[in-house]
Amino acid sequence: MEILMVVVVGVMFTIATYMVLTKSLLRVILGTVLYSHGAHLLILTMGGLGTGAAPLLSTEGPHSDPLPQALVLTAIVISFGVTAFLLVLAYRTYKQHKTDDLDQLRGSSDE
């Protein structure tokens, strides 16, 4: 099961990287969202996919590992904040420059 999960994660990372390397700002953002999805799954998988019960003491043990879950929960919320920020950044960039093509959004090194 773990190995299958790792494959899923690997696919997510591959696609995320590919999208991040494209020229469209929107695809880049979608890529980063995929990155975070992949990372969350990876952390959980590396922590060991327990066969135990949910980590609630009101249920019968043995429980699955709560620590990766806590880590991932933190990560989800942080990636929410980052995604929101990135989205607005893209939005403002488009408003300001009327393009979402990263080739046209180059810095000033040519000048």
């Binding site: 609630l56 003491l57 009101s58 929960l73 929101a84 607005v88 939005y91």
Partner: protein, 140 residues
């Protein structure tokens, strides 16, 4: 925004249930699935639903909360619980709990972690709505 009667009717019914459920999630978080993050996101989505169905203007008149203040209050609450420990001489963010008897409710466990979680709740609600509304208002 056009008046969408069916959406508005459903919203009227569900919003309070969702909000109540979000508070339940917040309070239950210590023992069952839930907590400040989940409760906060739940509340945020309920309020977003209100905005979507009734429009910005109407809801802004009803909800006069300033979200930046909500964020600040949340952060202060969360950090403030940390200083309880410092005052007693324990490390920063030591949490305490005890059981109290409250009339009608029976024996209830009260924790400082709950205050911390309420802080988290406020911050999450604040940030989520603050971001969404800021973008929505920029519709110029």
């Amino acid at each position: 925004m056009k008046n969408n009667v069916s959406l508005q009717t459903v919203t009227r019914l569900t919003v309070f249930i969702v909000l109540a459920f979000s508070i339940y999630l917040l309070l239950a978080g210590h023992h069952a699935p839930g907590g400040g993050f989940i409760g906060g996101l739940m509340a945020a989505s309920a309020i977003v639903l209100l905005y979507l169905s009734f429009g910005m203007k109407k809801i802004s008149k009803v909800f006069t909360i300033s979200y930046p203040y909500l964020i600040a209050v949340g952060l202060l609450l969360a950090m403030g619980t940390g200083f309880i420990g410092v005052l007693v001489g324990d490390p920063f963010l030591t949490q305490y709990y005890d059981y109290f008897y409250i009339p009608f409710l029976g024996t209830v466990e009260l924790t400082t972690a709950l205050i911390f979680d309420i802080g988290v709740y406020f911050v999450v609600v604040g940030v989520a709505l603050f971001s969404i509304l800021t973008i929505a208002e920029d519709d110029a």
